[in-house]
Symmetry: C2
Subunit: 243 residues, 2 copies
């Protein structure tokens, strides 16, 4: 019996992978994943059996990984960011059910909130929330409620999946909810293609964010009440200087 390692590869650059993720990819027989993520790693780990399934075929992909493991293979299932956050780890556990085999190991990776924050400066210094704007698996009303509560709690907010072809106006709708509680001048940031070729970032106000063009390669951060810019970086002070 083989095993399935669900590997978070981070934002996409080799340097932002953990050593554990790198080791798992070196050691595996087969790499399974969404085509974009398999393409990100295939050249660095030659000689592996490669399998990919498209975006809406996640259950099929996880079943395939479990089948390969049952046939004795060591399988690395690659996910972008952290393998547990909007990733495949839960689905692999669910599809295995109450069986104890094949062995499943979850290797966490840098999630986009952390890697986007490091590009912008240090905006996640204190309490924060991570919320996806995709309503493919979550009712929009739930997303609205979470945005409203996060703003009421003065949490820094990281928005994942701020837009896609099928829902071009989700970020605008999210900003409208946040603007009920937060001022239009609140500082925010957008990072696109984190750690990949063509990485770009922008600091802007919440009012400007409402009008901004974003796509599925963007991560958005909305600052808490104390966020500010320092030498052009987005910074949430921790407060040590006042203690």
């Amino acid at each position: 019996m083989g095993k399935v390692t669900v590997v978070g590869i981070g934002p996409g650059s080799y340097e932002d992978m953990t050593i554990r993720a790198d080791t798992a990819l070196r050691a595996c027989d087969a790499i399974v994943g969404y085509p974009v993520y398999v393409d990100l790693v295939r050249d660095r780990y030659p000689g592996k059996e490669l399998h990919s399934t498209p975006m809406t075929r996640e259950a099929e992909r996880c079943q395939l990984a479990l089948e390969l493991a049952r046939s004795g293979k060591t399988v690395a299932m690659v996910c972008s960011g952290d393998s547990g956050i909007y990733g495949m780890a839960a689905l692999v556990y669910e599809l295995r059910g109450e069986a104890q085999e094949p062995e499943i190991q979850v290797v966490p990776g840098l999630t986009a909130a952390c890697s986007a924050a490091a590009v912008l400066g240090a905006p996640l210094t204190h309490d924060f929330a991570v919320i996806s704007l995709s309503d493919r698996l979550t009712p929009w009303e739930t997303i609205e409620k979470r945005l409203d509560c996060a703003a009421a709690a003065d949490l820094t907010i990281a928005l994942y999946n701020p837009a896609s072809h099928g829902r071009p106006d989700h970020l605008k709708r999210a900003c409208d909810i946040l603007l009920r509680r937060l001022p239009g001048e609140r500082l925010c940031g957008i990072v696109r293609n984190i750690g990949r070729e063509g990485q770009s970032s922008r600091i802007l106000t919440l009012a400007e964010l409402r009008e901004a063009e974003v796509d599925m390669f963007c991560t958005v951060l909305i600052g808490s009440a104390v966020v500010k810019t320092v030498a052009g970086q987005l910074v949430t002070p921790r407060g040590y200087r006042n203690v």
Copy 2:
């Protein structure tokens, strides 16, 4: 002029560091940090100048790193977890002020929410909040408000700093706030010493969590409404099977 790289070393094991963090530590002249974190890395990176300052002397530590960089040294300032989340990155930016030198680079790392989740199974699959129970820098009323809003929003909640010598009852007080909205049977998890010797974990209910013994080496996760156990792992289903 040297530079300051603020390095998130993750939970503490070498394998959970990113390749970028490892490279920064190899390349630096001096390592600066809280004594425990300097001790975690000193043997692996011999021949470095080592500097540490105690827990309440963070500003002094950051000033020292900036001074060393001004004197031409390449400085790695080590932080546990992610260098931007309850870490030193913001303070280094603040203390440098509007100057553009020395150069500051933030290297993100695995934050405890991610590494704890991977130990417990896959409880962070969907939207979540990270909240620290330390009131050293945040008024307790703010913490209470954030806990209440996170529970109202049905976010999975990761609690950092659930207890220390000076505030042994913070977790109990936090549970009491959460129990106003969440059932006592809600599944939670505790992970202690993530990625270090003596790592342990436990899945328990919110009612049991209220009575649990925790210390500053623990990270606590509180599940959302859909959390469950699968083969002994704490899992938040993502819902693909129902789509």
